[in-house]
Subunit: 386 residues, 2 copies
């Protein structure tokens, strides 16, 4: 599975991590899947048996040296990662019974660490207790510090290769939206709508991708969404399409609401649509460095309040995305998160009224020095041009 990440990007992120750590930290072990992608560009495709339940470890030295350890079944993915050195110990050789998979990783990690000199060891929040206890057996004097929060904080400000990775997800998801506009017809189930969007995304990506989110029609829109069901889509139904495409760990997350078959929509729905689009524009007007999450939320909600619709807006105005969902910054009523350059965020105003219908519109943005760039390019509105 090709990644948009680059060797330079991964190296830059490792350097930023090492520069952010206390000077006493001599080595760092990273185990969480998202951190392995972030710092090494390592992402085993979930669409092969080789990657099922596979783990990996990344060891960073204070001098910047990077070593990825992953077993022989995921060697292809390890070889495509961006590190100085790759170890692929044999877990299963096809002629003998295989031991527990995690044990192979632990042993190889201990072997690699034997070569390192360290008094203070940084670990991320996923490193198993068994690994740390085994290290302590050999080096009882080692002090262990959690570098997970530092990595979590660094992840906010995306680098160019990460923006490229998220933009790629947006492009693939846009192919899904285009297929939804021309393909969803009355009489189809929500599951069939999911399938046609999924197919279009996979065609655009050239490989299987993970597609998740809300694929909800009719009455179901009134409570905001949910995954696809066997519900048969009716003419004049609203359809909330709010979905994420995951490629190599990164993801998009944008939405539109359609009137199925481009048909009738009531004055009330038009009023709600108009309020949502004004809200998204108001939110966009607030997107720039140093603005607080609460201020972005306030800008969005002010449009609803002005129209007496704010009681129909029950959720966040948006949030960060990247290797997680939802990630910081949180664009909510009481958020003190201040936007920074490189934040990738969504804005997703929505209104939901019993007996009328629900709708949500959402775009993805990256925060720049003087404002933002829009990463998603689908058209917003109940009646999309075909």
């Amino acid at each position: 599975m090709p990644t948009c990440l680059t060797a330079a990007g991964c190296k830059s992120r490792r350097s930023r991590l090492l520069a952010s750590l206390d000077h006493g930290v001599d080595a760092v072990i990273v185990h969480s899947p998202r951190n392995l992608t972030y710092l090494a560009g390592y992402y085993p495709s979930p669409f092969l048996f080789r990657s099922q339940n596979a783990g990996a470890m990344l060891i960073l030295g204070r001098d910047g040296a990077s070593r990825l350890i992953a077993d022989n079944l995921v060697e292809t993915f390890a070889d495509r990662s961006f590190v100085d050195c790759v170890d692929t110990p044999t877990w299963y050789n096809g002629t003998e019974s295989a031991p527990m998979r995690g044990d192979v990783l632990t042993r190889a990690t201990l072997d690699a660490l034997r070569k390192e000199e360290f008094g203070i060891l940084g670990i991320d929040s996923a490193v198993p207790a068994g690994v740390v206890d085994a290290i302590r057996e050999v080096r009882p004097e080692v002090r262990v510090v959690d570098v997970g929060p530092t990595i979590h904080r660094l992840m906010r400000s995306k680098e160019p290769d990460e923006i490229a990775a998220i933009s790629r997800c947006c492009e693939v998801a846009e192919a899904g939206f285009a297929a939804a506009i021309t393909g969803i017809k009355p009489g189809m189930t929500e599951m069939q709508a999911y399938e046609l969007i999924n197919n279009a995304c996979m065609e655009a990506a050239g490989e299987p991708v993970i597609l998740y989110g809300d694929f909800a029609s009719g009455k179901r829109t009134e409570s905001g969404g949910g995954g696809p069901t066997a519900r048969v889509i009716q003419r004049d139904d609203l359809f909330i399409l709010d979905c994420s495409v995951v490629i190599a760990g990164y993801r998009s997350d944008f939405a539109n609401t359609f009137v199925i078959d481009g048909g009738f929509s009531s004055a009330r729905l038009r009023e709600m649509e108009s309020a949502c689009l004004a809200a998204i524009a108001a939110g966009e007007g607030a997107l720039r460095p140093a603005v607080l999450g609460r201020e972005v939320y306030g800008a969005v909600n002010r449009e609803f309040h002005a129209r007496g619709l704010d009681s129909l807006f029950p959720h966040h105005a948006g949030h960060g995305i990247g290797l997680g969902h939802p990630d910081p910054p949180y664009l909510v009523r009481d958020s003190d998160d201040a936007l920074v350059v490189g934040d990738v965020v969504t804005l997703e105003p929505g209104l939901y009224e019993r007996g009328v219908g629900g709708m949500r519109f959402e775009r993805n943005y990256v925060i720049t020095g003087d404002g933002y760039l829009t990463l998603s390019h689908h058209r917003l509105g109940l009646s999309p041009a075909r």
Copy 2:
């Protein structure tokens, strides 16, 4: 996502675990996704944003009491698990910025453990070092033991609800095979073949599922398979379909090889097909408790050897499946794994010849007291009846 697991099954597995542990173990913490499914029936769907990067903890008392901890975003899945007690601490409330997700889980785990009395704590191999270190801060005298190997060993012998879960995956995958037989045509790409099989599986499951495996045509079959590509399928191509459907953590894993458009196949291909089908029958003849993996491999390979084809058979004869892939027992040349009642295994003889083509045929079985039952029911052979 509905599971076939039952409250009785989960309770039985927890009882078996506690009975297998040293009598000194007072409490157990479980964190690995597969162990959480196994012991609690907990499986967060990957097709919702709520589950992205979510973790959970299961705490078992020596008295059999079970408590699952998972944050508020995955409450739906936690509530559907089969435990005595569910804690769903708030991670993200939609009005304030959210802390690091794992910290919420760690804190709730420590809170729950405060109520427990224990001197010896069992943990699985995924419990993070941070959790164990935090426990040691409060109880420096605690002794920690790894119960991961015990769980791994218990997993071999599947209980009836687990067999039902795997059978369900087989049924869904069979719908995919049926769609492949009628739907794959010359001129389609392998990706389009993947899409039609994927759609059929999702229709049969009534929800999005993970479908992974080999979807390889023409020349690509000679090296055994691989994920779907943009390669255009030709008339008379071989097509190896070797795929797994994952539902609620469990999976099937079976295969067939088709001649596309049901057309021509050479005498050499017919010879190879006949050898493979004889090999699978010979392997089936060896499936019963106490038989060693090497003996099953031997039965399979003997058929190839007798025909002078064994040099074209480069891989295992089969392996266990369930919550992982490949799992023990390993049906390979030097395997000492002895079959036990409740093992779910595959047999997958295959032959691959440069310039001719490659093929693989595979079924899934559960080992019974006097032999086996076949869990997969697709037809094997190059020219399937349409």
